[in-house]
Symmetry: C2
């Protein structure tokens, strides 16, 4: 289709004959809430969907390259971020299996461009509906509708929180919070991440991050080494997460 020339798409368009059950199981694994829907429109729509694979570090869409499909993410992680002219980046959120791809919703529903970039961080497999099928599914299934509206609302709330955080909190606090949640999700106390990566999360520059990290290390909260950060004191980090200055 008109998407097939985007860089990074791998192959694997699956024929949709008699694989309904596979499809359903696959979707159910990532979207438990949706797996149990039995509305006929929903079933037939899912059955018409295509599988698409993306390589890591592929730009799935941006303001200039909109995407007129709706996607369920079956596997992998997508990072949504904004850029400034000077090369700074700010991560808005991530989309994983089970999440709703709001960017795609937007470019489907209106032409207004989103002014953000969606880029795969890992291998990504998505289930793709075109705009018409999405409409059919929305009209046919109340569960799906609820899912869409709830997820949109949730995302909006998180975004409001992000605004508050960036507007009112200092970088050391924001960095401490970020590290805190990264360590939480991480198995084990050693986090694989570079200072530049952290800068791109928070919308600042590498030097600034390095400086604050060094300060955290001096306070024995963390231990730094090339490409890694080791947690030394969760309490210490927690303190920085709550302390305004």
């Amino acid at each position: 289709m008109h998407n097939s020339n985007i860089a990074g798409i791998k192959s694997s368009e699956v024929e949709s004959i008699d694989i309904q059950d596979d499809r359903k199981r696959e979707l159910e694994a990532s979207y438990p809430m949706l797996g149990s829907i039995n509305d006929p429109e929903w079933i037939s729509t899912i059955n018409k969907a295509r599988n698409l694979d993306f390589n890591p570090h592929t730009v799935m869409f941006s303001g200039s390259a909109p995407c007129n499909n709706f996607m369920f993410i079956l596997k992998g992680i997508i990072r949504i971020y904004q850029t400034a002219e000077d090369g700074r980046e700010l991560t808005l959120y991530r989309v994983e299996a089970g999440d709703l791809c709001i960017l795609s919703l937007n470019s489907m529903l209106q032409n207004q461009s989103f002014n953000a970039i969606a880029e795969t961080e890992t291998d990504v497999t998505a289930l793709v509906l075109n705009a018409d099928d999405f409409k059919v599914a929305m009209n046919g299934s109340e569960t799906f509708r609820n899912y869409v509206v709830t997820t949109l609302t949730e995302r909006l709330c998180e975004t409001m929180y992000l605004i508050q955080n960036t507007a009112f909190n200092h970088l050391n606090m924001r960095l401490a919070c970020m590290l805190g949640s990264l360590f939480e999700r991480n198995q084990g106390p050693v986090l694989k991440i570079t200072h530049q990566d952290l800068a791109h999360e928070l919308g600042t520059t590498r030097e600034v991050i390095s400086r604050i990290l060094k300060e955290f290390e001096r306070q024995d909260c963390i231990k730094l080494s090339r490409g890694y950060i080791k947690l030394a004191s969760a309490e210490g980090l927690e303190w920085f997460s709550n302390n305004p200055k």
Copy 2:
């Protein structure tokens, strides 16, 4: 109902017998897209709705006082903003006649609190649905559903833009943009607003705004007087709106 003890509510609960046509006309005036819906669930739901009036400067809801109803705004303006401990405020957006009250959507759909404050700026009249009626309307009318999803998506886009703006642009640029759009909406070149108000829009302090405004005045973009700002050169202001430093 359980809302009736919130400060600032005026009175005017209207009995809903045979006023269907009035109601419909009223709604249509503010929400042209919705006025033409003829689904029976929709009609009966609207008919069950209550009118509520609010005085200016009434906090309609905040994180601590959620609102479990859905509202159509028939008249007036509501400001949604966040606060910091030090008294700074940052306006997220405004809701007017024809807009969707996303805050109410959120508190209806989930318990997660929104972490923002909604406050009337003028007299406000709203048409109020409870959560169940909202569901009925959503299930009954595709037009209403489209309206909700489209508006949510739109709001999300605008919010993303706000993040980019606050994270990457300097205050003089942001202030110039803000003034630009205020003058645009304003009839005539004289804007009634205080420096403190502008600070509350942008999440900063009065002194900072005063200083930048003075700079704009020195560059003959505006003329300052107590409580008012007069546009002197739209081009000059435009220049500051686009210039990074």
